[in-house]
């Protein structure tokens, strides 16, 4: 029997980065429509205006404390684009390492602190795996975080050596990095990485990183999951629970994936239902129809950010980015799909919109691929050679900086006039994933993925909705800057 829709406003949505509120229209025990609101506005794009150009290297990273390096790299690349700057090999290698350290730490943090604690909720107490999930994943005293947070902290010693500190470093410059690495430090970097690898291989994967990276399809993933008791490693435990809770049937997104490419390791492109095409940032626009923002649809190279808090059609501070007018998803799943990893290609061939399980798998797979790459980058550093080319003269005009943050494609569009910032627009990964509806009424990626999510009787903060939301690893502070 069809009932009238009821409305549920869910928040505070914690264990995402920043502020999030989700409005759900529920009908027949499932979400009929979702509206995603980012209820915080700080105005970084406005704050940057009128500043000396290089100040963006200080201000822009402070948009976000969880991916400040990604913001640094985007700002530095936007300046480099303006000045046609290049960097020495050591500069690229160190930049790769600093960015990969942040991406990898983020993937781990997301899994153990933000996503997995929901698997230990008492609503799952009837399941045979519950006691194990509780022991490993409970917020606060779960063994997974208790074991791997110290490993993460020591992994971030790499930031101490290469970037001075984390978050909010100024080491990343248009011409390279400010810190050279001497031969002794090179050994210390390898030691840090070896220790982190050991922690991941012991606790998270209970297998070698190479075995995880070599999983080449759904059959291989399932065979791997079944090859040992379900509690052997946190990844296997997750896969076991995902199977019980049907995580592959939850959270299907738009099926259009963007990656700007990363590290020279993951290829750029756009995946759109069976076809891979080139990612052209000039096709990106931002729609303001349902944002609390003035103005109409514009390219980020021309758009403005002028808050309009009383706009009646608005329901979020987030704008709605679109690629050639279309909704798209970004993140590890998109990156690995575009790059063509066989496991992810198989997952998306089977479920074109992806799922809660697929997003988590893609992140952990990427973690397994990044660490060995980092080892090769460290070995390639040549200590007595330059790490940074001198600053170039910045001409007036536009510049674009793209980077892959852990959560997906991040772009900075800068414009200089008389050496000062006359224009600055940012599109962050979660701006893509958590965008509101556009002028045509098309929901954003998460809004789409939430439709159909089951809501159980009496639930005020539906647990399946939480799984879907957190599967994207949202970063709301980046979203609205």
């Amino acid at each position: 029997m069809t009932q009238n829709p009821t409305r549920l406003i869910v928040g505070p949505f914690n264990r995402v980065e920043g502020d999030l509120e989700v409005t759900l229209d529920i009908q027949d025990g499932a979400v009929a429509e979702a509206r995603v609101n980012a209820p915080l506005y700080r105005g970084f794009e406005q704050i940057l205006l009128g500043r000396p150009a290089a100040d963006c290297l200080v201000i822009a990273p402070r948009i976000c404390g969880i991916c400040s390096v990604s913001q640094s790299v985007a700002a530095a690349r936007a300046l480099a684009d303006l000045g046609q700057a290049s960097m020495p090999d050591n500069g690229s290698l160190a930049t790769n390492l600093i960015l990969a350290c942040e991406n990898a730490a983020d993937h781990l943090t997301h899994f153990m602190l933000f996503f997995a604690p929901d698997l230990a909720r008492s609503c799952y107490s009837e399941h045979p795996w519950f006691q194990t999930a509780r022991r490993r994943f409970a917020a606060g005293d779960g063994e997974c975080a208790r074991t791997l947070l110290p490993a993460r902290a020591r992994f971030l010693h790499l930031m101490g050596l290469l970037a001075g500190k984390w978050p909010h470093s100024l080491a990343l410059q248009p011409g390279g990095v400010t810190k050279g690495i001497d031969p002794g430090e090179k050994i210390r970097l390898l030691s840090i990485l070896a220790e982190f690898r050991e922690a991941l291989e012991t606790h998270l994967f209970a297998d070698s990183l190479e075995s995880i990276a070599a999983l080449n399809g759904i059959a291989a993933l399932e065979a791997w999951a079944d090859a040992a008791p379900f509690d052997r490693g946190d990844f296997r435990l997750f896969l076991h629970i995902a199977r019980h809770l049907n995580f592959t049937g939850l959270g299907s997104g738009p099926g259009r994936f963007i990656s700007s490419g990363s590290f020279g390791l993951f290829a750029p492109g756009v995946w759109d239902r069976d076809a891979l095409t080139v990612f052209d940032p000039t096709q990106v626009t931002e729609d303001h129809a349902h944002s609390w923002m003035e103005g109409t649809t514009a390219s980020p190279s021309a758009g403005k950010t002028i808050p309009s808090p009383d706009k009646p059609e608005g329901y979020s501070w987030c704008k709605a980015p679109r690629l050639a007018g279309q909704v798209a998803e970004v993140g590890a799943l998109a990156r690995q799909m575009v790059d063509g990893h066989p496991l992810i290609r198989d997952l998306i061939k089977t479920r074109p919109g992806g799922s809660v399980q697929d997003r988590v798998v893609a992140r952990l797979l990427e973690l397994a691929r990044l660490i060995p790459a980092m080892e090769t980058w460290i070995r390639a550093i040549r200590p007595a050679e330059p790490f940074c080319f001198p600053p170039t003269d910045l001409g007036d005009g536009p510049g674009t900086g793209l980077v892959e943050a852990a959560r997906g494609t991040l772009g900075h569009w800068i414009g200089l006039d008389g050496g000062r910032i006359a224009h600055y627009q940012i599109i962050a990964p979660t701006t893509w994933n958590f965008s509101p509806r556009d002028a045509q009424g098309n929901p954003g990626a998460l809004e789409m993925a939430l439709a159909g999510t089951p809501v159980l009787p009496g639930e005020t903060t539906p647990v399946a909705v939480q799984h879907v939301v957190r599967s994207f690893d949202p970063c709301m502070v980046c979203t609205v800057h």
Binding site: I47, A54, A163, G164, H168, S169, P309, F387
Partner: protein, 340 residues
């Protein structure tokens, strides 16, 4: 982490106002263990933290409401991020999701119940980066708006313990500053004399970021870096404010091995009010007649000029050469002993 209180725990509630989350991210690396475990050692119990707690939605709101109404004892309220008063004093630039109320309203209700209020980071302390430029959101600290009293809680605010807001300033603050301050509060070891004139814990604010700087020898001889990645002193050309910045950043390292100056870039004095709006570019040194404007805090200018000239004339060739490279070109070496 259920919300109940007992007399032998120190109940702490952590809110993120208009923050970037960086203070929490920094805190997660505390002592290389993590925040919660580092605090547990001192009997500190986290009633709720937006990044670390299981409770979401209505469960989370009920914890906040229990604290705001006094049903649960609130020993310490930590706020990370600036408090947004805009637009037009409504606070609507940050609504606490699910509650229909502005974050500033929750903060003032909770602060009124808290024995101690702690501003975590320079945003919560002084306004921070969101208050830069023309401050589009009317961002404030809890007790301060820049250098002036007049933050979101009002000029005369005192918490239940009688203390002003404890300002663990820094962008982000070192995890050690956070854990030590909270632990000292739990042990009852912080009174007004343990805070500096701006409410910062003196445990770290009694030092300057310059103390222990790895570029000390270059500073002594005014052998200055000219461009990013040079090893020389960053003060003369590249905007370093470590001689004016409160903080023990170079005494206890960041992330195991680092600091800003060891990382090769300028200290931007992020523990001070209004650091976000310097008079010139962050990474350039403001000068008048070739002399840096921002000299060491308590050094007479004439002496600085005289000593700088003297030390420059005495700079060893080794130091001069190494100041302009990203690795050591000339190692320190004595002349070989002559055989008798």
């Amino acid at each position: 982490m259920a919300a109940s209180s007992s007399s032998d725990t120190f109940n702490l509630l952590w809110l993120q106002a208009a923050s970037c989350g960086g203070c929490t991210m920094s805190a997660l690396a505390a002592d290389d263990t993590e925040l919660l475990r580092s605090l547990e050692r001192f009997g500190i119990r986290m009633l709720w933290h937006p990044s670390l707690s299981e409770e979401s939605g209505t469960e989370a709101l009920s914890i906040l409401e229990d604290c705001a109404s006094g049903r649960v004892r609130l020993d310490c309220l930590c706020v990370e991020g600036s408090v947004l008063l805009g637009p037009q004093g409504s606070g609507r630039f940050q609504m606490l999701s699910g509650s229909g109320k502005p974050m500033m309203e929750w903060i003032s209700r909770l602060a009124a119940q808290a024995s101690t209020v702690v501003a975590v980071g320079s945003c919560a302390a002084f306004g921070g980066v969101p208050a830069a430029g023309h401050n589009p959101t009317d961002a404030r600290g809890l007790q301060y708006s820049g250098w002036d009293l007049g933050g979101a809680l009002g000029k005369t605010f005192r918490s239940g313990s009688g203390l002003p807001v404890v300002n663990i300033a820094g962008c982000a603050p070192h995890p050690g500053w956070m854990v030590e301050t909270l632990a000292a509060l739990a042990l009852g070891n912080i009174s007004a004399e343990h805070l500096d004139a701006l409410g910062r814990p003196r445990t770290y604010a009694d030092h300057l970021a310059h103390h222990g700087c790895g570029r000390n020898e270059f500073y002594e001889f005014k052998a200055s870096a000219a461009r990013p990645s040079d090893r020389g002193c960053l003060m003369e050309n590249l905007g370093c404010r470590a001689t004016q910045a409160p903080g023990d950043c170079n005494i206890r390292r960041w992330n195991g091995y680092g600091s800003c100056t060891d990382g090769g870039y300028a200290c931007i004095n992020c523990t001070s009010p209004c650091f976000e709006t310097p008079s010139g570019p962050f990474q350039e040194t403001a000068k008048v007649a070739g002399i840096p404007v921002g000299l060491p805090v308590d050094m007479p200018k004439a002496w600085f000029v005289a000593l700088a000239a003297l030390s420059k004339s005495a700079t060893p060739q080794r130091v001069r050469t190494n100041a302009h490279a990203d690795h050591v070109i000339v190692p320190p070496a004595r002349k070989p002993f002559k055989s008798p």
